[in-house]
Amino acid sequence: MDFETPKENYSGKIIEVTIGATPEEGGTRSHTITIGGSTSPPFHFFEGKHPHPPRVAMEVFDKVPNKYPHSLMEYYRDVIEKPADMAKKCVEQYGAELISVRLEGTHPEKGNKSADEAAGIVRQILESVKVPVIITGHSHFEKINEVIKKVCEITAGENCLINYVETDNYKTIAASCIAYNHTIVAQSPIDVNLGKQLNILLTDMSFPAERIVMDPLTSTLGYGLEYTYSIMERIRNDGLAGDKMLAFPMLINPGYESAVVKEARASIEDNPDWGDQELRCAYWEIATAMSLLASGAELLIIYHPKAVEVVKNKISEIFNSKKGS
């Protein structure tokens, strides 16, 4: 029996989503970024097209997170309280392809900054960097709706990625995104059906499908990674099999989720078996990011500069194998 490459037929195609807008398109970004468009499982160049590589974003904050790992602080100490400067450093020094602004400080329990303050910070970021921008919120519905509405308004035409809506709170934010031309993240709690349901709800209110990115909810290494991993594989398989309501590119958060676990913070003295803390802090993000790339992630928000460097590097290495196949 002669060997023949076993190829499968996929009738579906992952929707292409573009983030950012150049001056010609009504924004101020130097370029846009497009993700999605795949017609086979992640990196299966031998049986499908993958027009766009996954992209790596980094994150800045309107308020320094309580549990920010010491190892990360070493890289950002000079800029952590100045989000516009930190964004610049992430892009120019560490190679961030997009910047996420996390507006956790607007949460009533975590600083209760006003919508205007948030808008001011976002405006500064848009001035300091020219890459496409992600606006990341929180779970206090009433407040985040007010904040995002304002931010959407002052960034009209920029085509930011508004991160995120969930089934219990999507209408206000989605309406703002439609009104001011932004793209949206639909987050669901590690569940194929709930994810699909939210996508249906959004498209039912005439939200354009090519402006939706799914967030399957990231569980980091050692904290339920396997659930995220398998849900993503199932979503991707269904999307490629032709289920249009699951054929969206996916966003994951290795940075935020790894920064809060003890592995990113505990010293080697406290846990001798866990090895060097500085290495471990980067390793945790790298292992999470690489495994979720294998299961279908197209957009990754990563914190550790070493992790950003190596993950970007690996994505381009993998895409180098596209040529010969």
Binding site: M1, F3, T5, P6, P41, F43, H44, F45, F46, N66, E109, S139, S219, L221, G222, Y223, G224, L225, E226, Y227, Y229, S230, E233, R234, N237, V260, V261, E263, P272, D273, W274, G275, D276, Q277, L279, R280, A282, Y283, W284, I286, A287, M290, S291, L293, A294, S295, K306, A307, E309, V310, N313, K314, E317, I318, F319, N320, S321, K322, G324, S325
Partner: protein, 445 residues
Amino acid sequence: MALSGLDIFKLLPKTNCGDCGVPTCMAFALKLAQKKAELSECPHASEKAKATLGAASEPPIRLVKIGGPPSLEIGNETVMFRHEKTFFHPTGIAIQLLCSKEEKKLLKEIENVESYKAERVGEELNADLFFISQDSADRDSFLKTVNITKQNSTKGIILDCSDTENLKISLEVLKDDRPAIFLREKLTDEYVKLAKTSDSSLIITADSFEDLQSQSEYAKSSGLNNIILNMNSQNLGYQLQNSTILRRSALKKYFKPFGFPLFTFIQAEDSYDLLAKASLNLCKYSSIIVLPKYDKAMLYALFTLRQNIYTDPQKPIQVDPKVYQIGEPTPDSPVFVTTNFSLTYFMVSGEIENSGISAHLIIADAEGQSVLTAWAAGKFTGETIAKFIKEINLEQNVRTRKIVIPGLVAQISGDLEEKLPGWEVIVGCQEASDIPAFIKSVRIT
């Protein structure tokens, strides 16, 4: 992979003669698929049916053992995606030993690896193998390294040595140890003979699928069964695609020459690069990964990833039912209770920690189920919680007499108060993420 009833039916005579004792060919096919009948019961089965079904009854990917006892077992996988069933035999992690190193350094490395163990959700995590490479022209150094490793370790050994004479002597040293031989060059008669006489597994290496097929068939026809496949590529994208194609050929096409576990030799620029490559290869079908050096943080990250990917999706990871201390609780600190489903535990303990308070978190035994599932199954009720609290003597260890239960099971509060006289039950929030806000707004001590 087993054939479906319908696949088998197509191979049967479709005469419904009943000679097999089952009224229709379809019914017989279904019994065959469930392994409740044997093809020999059908007197009219064709040669093609016999050949196909015979092949299908063998596992599509062979189980290969290295070292031991206890041996590392790899292969015998049945699915492409872990959610389809589970991945059975976790990737073996090997540590490379370079024989050009001084004896003292080698000994130290072996000792480090031997003594390394970490625990995670009740599982002990260890490295599995040593990968001994001859990296100098000095013949004796290889043999010496093999001897040192054998004397100081119980782990399985993979020999990476192109000098067949040296290999031969090493294999005599390891004659009862089930080693594996890593071939950097094409399989020859000499290697076949060495592997056969020493009962070793062979890791065969090729630059193309065609070459890999011909070497695998050659090994098989020479009577070797314990084969591991290595497609020579240093590009991560090719590694992933090659492994996918090999595994899919074995599982979906029953392509026998590729019905073996996979090996990937990773060369990396630095440790970050190494971990990135190893992580992807671990998820996508590599059964052995060699690490060029001992790095505790890397081992811990990789072991954790391996545990995650190889967990049976049908059986949730459980944490030990007991009292977990969040921060530095005193006897007056608040008490929370939830189930021992790992994700529930991770989220609840993380959020209590986020709130900045110290607390006692009681993880009750709910057979690893989440709060609502456990409640619906009667595993997380007033009665089971009260019983557990008594078993662990909580009343002797804390002065608090208030206990916070998950908001999703508000309905058990009355029952729990009844079963736990003297305690006040406080109904908590429904979502773990609301715990910090809940702690601020409700008096819980």
